[in-house]
Amino acid sequence: MAKKEELKIGEISKPRFEFRTFGRDFEEAAFLMSRLSVPVPEKVWERTSEEYYIVSKTNDINNTKIRDGKMDIKTFVQEVDGLEQWNPLMKAEFPISAEILKNEVYPAFMVDVPDFEKDTYSYDEFMEMIKNHPDLQAVKVEKQRFGYMVNDTICEVANVWINGAMVITVNSESTEVEDIKKTITALGLEGVENINYLQAIKRVLGWIDKPLAN
Protein backbone atom coordinates (compact mmCIF):
# COMPACT_ATOMS: atom_id res chain seq x y z
CA MET A 1 0.00 0.00 0.00
CA ALA A 2 1.36 3.41 -0.98
CA LYS A 3 2.44 5.61 1.88
CA LYS A 4 0.00 8.41 2.59
CA GLU A 5 1.21 11.93 2.01
CA GLU A 6 1.49 13.75 5.30
CA LEU A 7 -0.84 16.72 5.16
CA LYS A 8 0.30 20.00 6.58
CA ILE A 9 -2.11 22.86 7.04
CA GLY A 10 -1.32 25.85 4.91
CA GLU A 11 1.11 23.97 2.64
CA ILE A 12 0.69 22.81 -0.93
CA SER A 13 -0.06 19.12 -1.43
CA LYS A 14 -1.28 17.05 -4.34
CA PRO A 15 -4.94 17.76 -5.17
CA ARG A 16 -7.22 17.07 -2.23
CA PHE A 17 -10.69 15.69 -2.01
CA GLU A 18 -13.10 17.78 -0.01
CA PHE A 19 -16.25 17.48 1.96
CA ARG A 20 -17.81 20.84 2.73
CA THR A 21 -21.24 21.87 3.74
CA PHE A 22 -23.04 25.11 4.55
CA GLY A 23 -25.91 25.94 6.85
CA ARG A 24 -26.95 27.94 9.88
CA ASP A 25 -25.98 25.63 12.70
CA PHE A 26 -23.07 23.20 13.03
CA GLU A 27 -22.48 23.67 16.73
CA GLU A 28 -22.14 19.96 17.44
CA ALA A 29 -19.75 19.31 14.52
CA ALA A 30 -17.70 22.36 15.48
CA PHE A 31 -17.47 21.16 19.08
CA LEU A 32 -16.39 17.66 18.01
CA MET A 33 -13.89 19.10 15.55
CA SER A 34 -12.24 21.16 18.28
CA ARG A 35 -12.09 18.17 20.67
CA LEU A 36 -10.90 15.58 18.14
CA SER A 37 -8.27 17.79 16.55
CA VAL A 38 -4.58 17.35 17.10
CA PRO A 39 -2.78 20.59 17.96
CA VAL A 40 -2.47 22.79 14.88
CA PRO A 41 -0.08 25.67 14.11
CA GLU A 42 -1.10 28.93 15.76
CA LYS A 43 -1.28 30.64 12.34
CA VAL A 44 -4.37 28.58 11.46
CA TRP A 45 -6.21 28.95 14.76
CA GLU A 46 -8.15 31.85 13.33
CA ARG A 47 -7.82 33.42 9.91
CA THR A 48 -9.90 36.18 8.39
CA SER A 49 -10.14 37.18 4.76
CA GLU A 50 -12.19 39.23 2.37
CA GLU A 51 -12.65 37.87 -1.12
CA TYR A 52 -14.77 38.35 -4.18
CA TYR A 53 -16.10 35.25 -5.90
CA ILE A 54 -17.07 35.67 -9.52
CA VAL A 55 -20.06 33.45 -10.16
CA SER A 56 -21.30 32.59 -13.60
CA LYS A 57 -24.85 31.63 -14.50
CA THR A 58 -23.56 29.12 -17.02
CA ASN A 59 -20.83 27.39 -15.07
CA ASP A 60 -20.53 25.22 -11.97
CA ILE A 61 -17.15 23.62 -12.63
CA ASN A 62 -14.74 26.53 -12.31
CA ASN A 63 -14.41 28.46 -9.09
CA THR A 64 -12.99 31.96 -9.43
CA LYS A 65 -12.07 34.16 -6.52
CA ILE A 66 -10.07 37.32 -6.05
CA ARG A 67 -8.17 38.03 -2.85
CA ASP A 68 -5.62 40.77 -2.24
CA GLY A 69 -5.57 41.68 -5.93
CA LYS A 70 -4.86 38.12 -7.05
CA MET A 71 -7.18 35.94 -9.09
CA ASP A 72 -7.32 32.25 -8.37
CA ILE A 73 -9.33 29.81 -10.50
CA LYS A 74 -9.87 26.20 -9.53
CA THR A 75 -11.52 23.61 -11.69
CA PHE A 76 -13.61 20.61 -10.73
CA VAL A 77 -11.79 17.37 -11.49
CA GLN A 78 -13.87 14.49 -10.20
CA GLU A 79 -16.26 13.28 -7.55
CA VAL A 80 -15.47 10.11 -5.60
CA ASP A 81 -17.93 8.76 -3.04
CA GLY A 82 -19.63 12.15 -2.86
CA LEU A 83 -16.36 14.01 -2.26
CA GLU A 84 -15.14 16.62 -4.71
CA GLN A 85 -11.65 17.11 -6.05
CA TRP A 86 -10.68 20.54 -7.39
CA ASN A 87 -7.38 21.49 -9.06
CA PRO A 88 -5.82 24.92 -9.51
CA LEU A 89 -6.45 26.08 -13.08
CA MET A 90 -4.72 29.44 -13.05
CA LYS A 91 -3.44 32.20 -10.82
CA ALA A 92 -2.89 35.77 -11.96
CA GLU A 93 -2.20 39.11 -10.38
CA PHE A 94 -3.77 42.42 -11.43
CA PRO A 95 -3.22 44.13 -13.77
CA ILE A 96 -4.06 41.16 -16.00
CA SER A 97 -3.47 41.14 -19.75
CA ALA A 98 -6.40 41.04 -22.15
CA GLU A 99 -4.79 37.95 -23.63
CA ILE A 100 -5.12 36.02 -20.35
CA LEU A 101 -8.65 37.31 -19.76
CA LYS A 102 -9.66 36.28 -23.26
CA ASN A 103 -7.96 32.90 -23.39
CA GLU A 104 -8.12 31.69 -19.80
CA VAL A 105 -10.43 33.67 -17.51
CA TYR A 106 -13.56 34.17 -19.62
CA PRO A 107 -13.41 30.61 -21.02
CA ALA A 108 -13.44 29.45 -17.38
CA PHE A 109 -16.62 31.50 -16.81
CA MET A 110 -18.13 29.81 -19.88
CA VAL A 111 -19.89 32.98 -20.99
CA ASP A 112 -19.70 35.17 -24.07
CA VAL A 113 -16.30 36.82 -24.23
CA PRO A 114 -16.58 40.62 -24.34
CA ASP A 115 -14.51 42.88 -26.58
CA PHE A 116 -11.26 43.99 -25.03
CA GLU A 117 -10.22 47.52 -25.87
CA LYS A 118 -7.11 47.64 -23.72
CA ASP A 119 -3.96 45.55 -23.42
CA THR A 120 -4.20 45.14 -19.66
CA TYR A 121 -6.94 45.52 -17.08
CA SER A 122 -6.68 46.73 -13.51
CA TYR A 123 -8.74 45.17 -10.73
CA ASP A 124 -11.29 48.04 -10.89
CA GLU A 125 -11.57 47.79 -14.67
CA PHE A 126 -12.06 44.03 -14.50
CA MET A 127 -14.75 44.36 -11.81
CA GLU A 128 -16.53 46.93 -13.99
CA MET A 129 -16.55 44.39 -16.84
CA ILE A 130 -18.02 41.79 -14.48
CA LYS A 131 -20.70 44.22 -13.35
CA ASN A 132 -21.71 44.88 -16.95
CA HIS A 133 -21.89 41.22 -17.96
CA PRO A 134 -25.44 39.81 -17.66
CA ASP A 135 -24.28 36.29 -16.75
CA LEU A 136 -21.61 37.18 -14.21
CA GLN A 137 -21.82 38.43 -10.66
CA ALA A 138 -19.15 39.52 -8.17
CA VAL A 139 -20.05 38.41 -4.67
CA LYS A 140 -18.37 39.71 -1.55
CA VAL A 141 -17.40 36.87 0.76
CA GLU A 142 -15.89 37.51 4.16
CA LYS A 143 -14.53 34.58 6.14
CA GLN A 144 -13.56 33.94 9.72
CA ARG A 145 -11.98 30.48 9.65
CA PHE A 146 -10.92 28.26 12.54
CA GLY A 147 -8.51 25.50 11.51
CA TYR A 148 -8.22 21.96 12.88
CA MET A 149 -6.75 18.57 11.96
CA VAL A 150 -8.92 15.52 12.52
CA ASN A 151 -8.07 11.98 11.34
CA ASP A 152 -5.20 13.39 9.28
CA THR A 153 -7.63 15.61 7.38
CA ILE A 154 -7.48 19.38 7.31
CA CYS A 155 -10.69 20.69 8.82
CA GLU A 156 -12.23 24.05 9.44
CA VAL A 157 -15.34 25.62 10.81
CA ALA A 158 -15.97 29.11 9.50
CA ASN A 159 -18.35 32.00 9.74
CA VAL A 160 -18.93 33.24 6.22
CA TRP A 161 -20.69 36.43 5.20
CA ILE A 162 -22.07 36.33 1.67
CA ASN A 163 -22.87 39.91 0.67
CA GLY A 164 -23.30 40.57 4.39
CA ALA A 165 -25.56 37.62 5.29
CA MET A 166 -24.04 34.96 7.48
CA VAL A 167 -23.78 31.22 6.98
CA ILE A 168 -21.63 28.62 8.70
CA THR A 169 -19.45 26.14 6.85
CA VAL A 170 -17.58 23.05 8.02
CA ASN A 171 -15.18 21.04 5.93
CA SER A 172 -12.70 18.18 5.87
CA GLU A 173 -10.12 17.81 3.12
CA SER A 174 -7.38 15.37 2.35
CA THR A 175 -5.74 13.50 -0.48
CA GLU A 176 -7.23 10.35 1.11
CA VAL A 177 -10.94 9.73 0.55
CA GLU A 178 -11.21 7.20 3.37
CA ASP A 179 -9.79 9.63 5.93
CA ILE A 180 -12.43 12.21 5.01
CA LYS A 181 -15.20 9.63 5.26
CA LYS A 182 -13.98 8.65 8.73
CA THR A 183 -13.93 12.32 9.71
CA ILE A 184 -17.46 12.92 8.42
CA THR A 185 -18.64 10.09 10.66
CA ALA A 186 -16.63 11.32 13.65
CA LEU A 187 -18.11 14.81 13.30
CA GLY A 188 -21.67 13.56 13.07
CA LEU A 189 -22.03 14.80 9.49
CA GLU A 190 -23.07 11.55 7.80
CA GLY A 191 -25.89 12.15 5.34
CA VAL A 192 -25.29 15.89 5.27
CA GLU A 193 -25.14 17.30 1.75
CA ASN A 194 -21.73 18.17 0.31
CA ILE A 195 -22.11 21.81 -0.74
CA ASN A 196 -19.16 23.69 -2.23
CA TYR A 197 -18.67 27.46 -2.14
CA LEU A 198 -20.08 28.05 -5.62
CA GLN A 199 -23.25 26.14 -4.79
CA ALA A 200 -23.68 27.88 -1.45
CA ILE A 201 -23.25 31.33 -2.97
CA LYS A 202 -25.66 30.58 -5.80
CA ARG A 203 -28.27 29.32 -3.34
CA VAL A 204 -28.03 32.47 -1.25
CA LEU A 205 -28.23 34.61 -4.39
CA GLY A 206 -31.38 32.75 -5.38
CA TRP A 207 -29.80 31.36 -8.55
CA ILE A 208 -30.39 27.81 -7.35
CA ASP A 209 -33.75 27.06 -5.78
CA LYS A 210 -32.46 24.89 -2.96
CA PRO A 211 -31.81 25.53 0.72
CA LEU A 212 -28.49 25.00 2.48
CA ALA A 213 -27.94 21.94 4.67
CA ASN A 214 -29.85 23.34 7.65
Binding site: F22, G23, R24, K131, Q137, A138, V139, K140, E142, W161, I162, N163, G164, A165, M166, V167, R203, V204, L205, G206, D209, P211, L212
Partner: protein
Amino acid sequence: MSEENYIPKYEFRLFGQSFPELEKLIGEKAGFIRNRRMDDVYLLTAADNENNVKIRNGKMDMKVLEETFEGLERWTPYMIGEFPMETEVIKSTVFPALGIPSPAFNRTEYKLNQFLNELVYHDPDLFVAYTSKSRKEYEFNECELEITDVTINSACIKTICIESESYEKVLETKAILNISEDEENVNYPTALKKIMGLIKIPGIWENIM
Protein backbone atom coordinates in the same frame (compact mmCIF):
# COMPACT_ATOMS: atom_id res chain seq x y z
CA MET B 1 -57.19 45.58 9.86
CA SER B 2 -58.73 46.18 6.44
CA GLU B 3 -56.95 48.11 3.74
CA GLU B 4 -59.57 50.89 3.96
CA ASN B 5 -58.79 51.99 7.50
CA TYR B 6 -55.06 51.23 7.44
CA ILE B 7 -52.99 54.31 8.11
CA PRO B 8 -49.53 53.95 6.58
CA LYS B 9 -46.72 54.19 9.09
CA TYR B 10 -43.38 55.91 8.91
CA GLU B 11 -40.64 53.36 9.17
CA PHE B 12 -36.96 53.31 9.99
CA ARG B 13 -35.20 49.97 9.54
CA LEU B 14 -31.66 48.75 10.04
CA PHE B 15 -30.07 45.54 8.80
CA GLY B 16 -26.89 44.02 10.16
CA GLN B 17 -25.34 41.07 11.91
CA SER B 18 -25.41 42.37 15.44
CA PHE B 19 -26.80 45.32 17.37
CA PRO B 20 -25.90 44.49 20.98
CA GLU B 21 -26.23 48.00 22.45
CA LEU B 22 -29.42 48.80 20.60
CA GLU B 23 -30.99 45.47 21.56
CA LYS B 24 -30.03 46.05 25.19
CA LEU B 25 -31.60 49.51 25.17
CA ILE B 26 -34.80 48.24 23.57
CA GLY B 27 -34.93 45.43 26.13
CA GLU B 28 -34.58 47.93 28.96
CA LYS B 29 -36.89 50.67 27.74
CA ALA B 30 -39.56 49.06 25.57
CA GLY B 31 -42.52 46.94 26.55
CA PHE B 32 -42.40 43.46 25.09
CA ILE B 33 -45.57 42.47 23.24
CA ARG B 34 -45.03 39.09 21.59
CA ASN B 35 -42.91 36.76 19.48
CA ARG B 36 -43.98 36.02 15.93
CA ARG B 37 -42.67 33.73 13.24
CA MET B 38 -43.46 34.13 9.59
CA ASP B 39 -42.27 32.76 6.28
CA ASP B 40 -42.40 35.09 3.32
CA VAL B 41 -41.43 34.62 -0.30
CA TYR B 42 -40.19 37.89 -1.81
CA LEU B 43 -40.22 38.46 -5.54
CA LEU B 44 -37.38 40.71 -6.62
CA THR B 45 -35.92 42.22 -9.73
CA ALA B 46 -32.98 44.48 -10.38
CA ALA B 47 -35.41 47.00 -11.80
CA ASP B 48 -37.73 48.32 -9.15
CA ASN B 49 -37.19 49.71 -5.68
CA GLU B 50 -40.54 51.26 -4.91
CA ASN B 51 -42.63 48.15 -4.58
CA ASN B 52 -42.48 45.43 -2.01
CA VAL B 53 -43.92 42.24 -3.48
CA LYS B 54 -44.14 39.15 -1.33
CA ILE B 55 -46.23 36.08 -0.74
CA ARG B 56 -47.32 35.53 2.85
CA ASN B 57 -49.69 32.84 4.02
CA GLY B 58 -50.41 31.93 0.42
CA LYS B 59 -51.51 35.47 -0.50
CA MET B 60 -49.87 38.08 -2.66
CA ASP B 61 -48.99 41.02 -0.44
CA MET B 62 -47.92 44.19 -2.23
CA LYS B 63 -46.86 47.54 -0.83
CA VAL B 64 -45.74 50.69 -2.56
CA LEU B 65 -43.35 53.30 -1.24
CA GLU B 66 -45.67 56.25 -0.68
CA GLU B 67 -43.22 58.77 0.67
CA THR B 68 -39.72 59.31 1.98
CA PHE B 69 -39.45 62.04 4.57
CA GLU B 70 -36.71 62.97 7.03
CA GLY B 71 -34.93 59.72 6.21
CA LEU B 72 -38.05 57.66 6.96
CA GLU B 73 -40.17 55.66 4.55
CA ARG B 74 -43.92 55.28 4.40
CA TRP B 75 -45.21 52.16 2.66
CA THR B 76 -48.83 51.62 1.72
CA PRO B 77 -50.41 48.23 1.08
CA TYR B 78 -52.23 48.28 -2.22
CA MET B 79 -53.06 44.68 -2.88
CA ILE B 80 -53.65 41.57 -0.85
CA GLY B 81 -54.31 39.09 -3.61
CA GLU B 82 -55.84 35.68 -3.21
CA PHE B 83 -54.86 32.73 -5.35
CA PRO B 84 -56.05 31.59 -7.80
CA MET B 85 -55.35 35.01 -9.26
CA GLU B 86 -56.75 36.28 -12.52
CA THR B 87 -54.20 36.62 -15.30
CA GLU B 88 -55.39 40.16 -15.90
CA VAL B 89 -54.42 41.13 -12.34
CA ILE B 90 -51.02 39.48 -12.65
CA LYS B 91 -50.47 41.26 -15.94
CA SER B 92 -51.76 44.68 -14.96
CA THR B 93 -50.61 44.85 -11.33
CA VAL B 94 -47.99 42.30 -10.30
CA PHE B 95 -45.49 42.45 -13.14
CA PRO B 96 -45.66 46.24 -13.52
CA ALA B 97 -44.92 46.48 -9.78
CA LEU B 98 -41.87 44.30 -10.30
CA GLY B 99 -40.73 46.60 -13.09
CA ILE B 100 -40.34 43.92 -15.74
CA PRO B 101 -42.43 42.96 -18.79
CA SER B 102 -45.14 40.39 -18.30
CA PRO B 103 -44.42 36.93 -19.67
CA ALA B 104 -46.71 35.03 -22.03
CA PHE B 105 -49.71 33.64 -20.17
CA ASN B 106 -51.26 30.26 -20.91
CA ARG B 107 -54.08 30.41 -18.37
CA THR B 108 -56.89 32.73 -17.45
CA GLU B 109 -56.05 32.39 -13.76
CA TYR B 110 -53.16 30.97 -11.76
CA LYS B 111 -53.02 28.98 -8.56
CA LEU B 112 -50.05 29.83 -6.33
CA ASN B 113 -47.94 26.85 -7.43
CA GLN B 114 -48.76 27.57 -11.08
CA PHE B 115 -47.83 31.22 -10.61
CA LEU B 116 -44.47 30.26 -9.08
CA ASN B 117 -43.65 27.32 -11.35
CA GLU B 118 -44.83 28.74 -14.64
CA LEU B 119 -44.28 32.49 -14.31
CA VAL B 120 -41.70 33.15 -11.62
CA TYR B 121 -39.07 30.43 -11.55
CA HIS B 122 -38.42 30.50 -15.29
CA ASP B 123 -38.23 34.27 -15.63
CA PRO B 124 -34.54 35.21 -15.91
CA ASP B 125 -35.29 38.70 -14.55
CA LEU B 126 -37.12 37.51 -11.43
CA PHE B 127 -35.40 36.36 -8.27
CA VAL B 128 -36.95 34.66 -5.29
CA ALA B 129 -35.90 35.18 -1.69
CA TYR B 130 -37.25 32.66 0.78
CA THR B 131 -37.28 34.38 4.14
CA SER B 132 -38.03 33.07 7.56
CA LYS B 133 -38.50 35.67 10.27
CA SER B 134 -38.38 35.28 14.00
CA ARG B 135 -39.67 38.60 15.30
CA LYS B 136 -39.76 40.06 18.79
CA GLU B 137 -42.27 42.91 18.95
CA TYR B 138 -42.17 45.80 21.42
CA GLU B 139 -43.91 49.13 22.02
CA PHE B 140 -42.18 52.27 23.12
CA ASN B 141 -42.85 56.00 22.88
CA GLU B 142 -46.00 55.41 20.80
CA CYS B 143 -43.93 53.42 18.30
CA GLU B 144 -43.89 49.78 17.35
CA LEU B 145 -40.45 48.25 17.55
CA GLU B 146 -39.20 44.94 16.27
CA ILE B 147 -36.00 42.93 16.53
CA THR B 148 -36.05 40.18 13.94
CA ASP B 149 -33.70 37.37 13.05
CA VAL B 150 -34.16 36.74 9.35
CA THR B 151 -32.88 33.94 7.19
CA ILE B 152 -32.68 34.82 3.53
CA ASN B 153 -32.23 31.79 1.31
CA SER B 154 -30.72 30.13 4.42
CA ALA B 155 -28.28 32.96 5.24
CA CYS B 156 -28.75 34.92 8.45
CA ILE B 157 -29.13 38.61 9.16
CA LYS B 158 -30.84 40.75 11.77
CA THR B 159 -33.15 43.71 11.36
CA ILE B 160 -34.42 46.30 13.82
CA CYS B 161 -37.36 48.51 12.94
CA ILE B 162 -39.16 51.49 14.45
CA GLU B 163 -42.54 52.46 13.04
CA SER B 164 -45.36 54.81 13.85
CA GLU B 165 -48.05 56.85 12.18
CA SER B 166 -46.17 59.88 13.52
CA TYR B 167 -42.82 60.63 11.92
CA GLU B 168 -41.94 62.82 14.92
CA LYS B 169 -42.28 59.83 17.23
CA VAL B 170 -40.06 57.69 15.01
CA LEU B 171 -37.38 60.39 14.93
CA GLU B 172 -37.70 60.91 18.68
CA THR B 173 -37.39 57.18 19.32
CA LYS B 174 -34.35 56.98 17.06
CA ALA B 175 -32.73 59.70 19.14
CA ILE B 176 -33.63 58.07 22.47
CA LEU B 177 -32.14 54.79 21.24
CA ASN B 178 -28.95 56.59 20.18
CA ILE B 179 -29.32 55.67 16.52
CA SER B 180 -27.09 58.01 14.59
CA GLU B 181 -28.58 60.28 11.94
CA ASP B 182 -26.00 58.81 9.59
CA GLU B 183 -27.44 55.30 9.84
CA GLU B 184 -28.95 54.21 6.56
CA ASN B 185 -32.66 53.39 6.49
CA VAL B 186 -32.75 50.08 4.59
CA ASN B 187 -36.06 48.54 3.59
CA TYR B 188 -36.59 44.81 3.04
CA PRO B 189 -36.46 44.76 -0.77
CA THR B 190 -33.24 46.78 -0.73
CA ALA B 191 -31.60 44.53 1.88
CA LEU B 192 -32.60 41.40 -0.01
CA LYS B 193 -31.38 42.81 -3.29
CA LYS B 194 -28.05 43.75 -1.75
CA ILE B 195 -27.54 40.27 -0.36
CA MET B 196 -28.61 38.66 -3.60
CA GLY B 197 -26.34 40.90 -5.64
CA LEU B 198 -29.14 42.54 -7.59
CA ILE B 199 -27.98 46.02 -6.69
CA LYS B 200 -24.57 47.34 -5.94
CA ILE B 201 -23.40 47.19 -2.37
CA PRO B 202 -22.79 50.77 -1.25
CA GLY B 203 -19.92 51.69 1.01
CA ILE B 204 -22.13 52.07 4.05
CA TRP B 205 -23.21 48.45 3.72
CA GLU B 206 -19.60 47.52 4.38
CA ASN B 207 -20.27 48.34 8.02
CA ILE B 208 -23.08 45.90 8.58
CA MET B 209 -20.99 43.18 10.23
